[in-house]
Subunit: 176 residues, 2 copies
């Protein structure tokens, strides 16, 4: 089964400057667990999920209205192609400890987001288990959107709060 | 397969008066997606999960250190018995749109927490899909821990923030 046949629901979009409060409100009202983030030019530039909110927002210890979506999103969007087999997409999710990724059409345009829930009925128990367990066994990495080499690592203060995320690649040093 | 055979990892505990920041820190350091909440008498009284944090914390628009675990936990803990078949546990999770529940031993003591991830390798694709999809199709209900009849419903202010959760049972009216 090709993944392009399985992507059914169009994704919902949120602007990169919207707040985490806006994003979670949109997710909870629509019972979605992820959104696509667009910039002002309406280009899709990232995704946010419940996991991003947990790992990249809560430990900042700030009110949800004061943190922007762009500082917690995963960017660039991890993607597969519409012609890829669902088994390979499950492996891609598992290898990268993801719950969702973008699906590109034949013109390399984002046609939608595929999640482990969407895939579940088309793959084996083993593949589903691999994806679910990958989050326990692998580090959930955020690649630096500037250098695309380092990973964004939290910097904690003495109170156990995240003050900023910093790229692990010293020659880059991007923070967000 | 009996669920008691599948519960492997002992749960981690957090005090009900700890903050959401403490809970999420403990979850992210240990790569757990849920914790058991205890009161000062060391009795297990609830569970918190990533989903509780999303649905019951973020929209309050407060820093994570200012919100206590007891105001976002699910209490009482939804439970099954160690002798229950994994298929029936999957149905219980799906019927109640849960990702995890407690497992009681033959003395009705909490022996651990079982999650859809723990169950995955022992149940069918259909059962896994049912559990995963249930979160999209069903409302994630928090039963009132005081009257055990109403559900805790968010009360929003004009700014779209949750000010409090209130029991839907008018003769109870518990808020948290």
């Amino acid at each position: 089964m090709k993944v392009g046949k399985v992507v059914s629901r169009p994704p919902m979009y949120i602007n990169e400057n919207a707040s985490v409060l806006d994003a979670v409100k949109m997710m909870s009202e629509n019972r979605l667990y992820g959104l696509v983030v667009k910039n002002d030019a309406e280009e899709p530039i990232g995704i946010v999920s419940e996991r991003s909110v947990i790992l990249r927002f809560v430990l900042r210890n700030k009110p949800a209205k004061e943190v922007q979506v762009k500082s917690i999103m995963r960017s660039p969007i991890p993607t597969v192609s519409e012609g890829d087999d669902v088994k390979d997409v499950a492996k891609f999710l598992s290898d990268n400890a993801l719950t969702r990724c973008g699906v590109l059409d034949n013109d390399d345009k984002l046609m939608g987001i595929i999640t482990i829930t969407d895939l579940a009925r088309y793959i084996s128990v083993q593949s589903i288990t691999d994806v679910l367990v990958s989050h326990r066994n692998k580090k959930y990495k955020y690649i630096c959107k500037v250098c695309l080499k380092g990973t964004m690592e939290p910097v904690f203060n003495g109170a156990g709060e995240i003050t900023v995320f910093k790229c692990s690649n010293e020659s880059c040093g991007h923070t967000e």
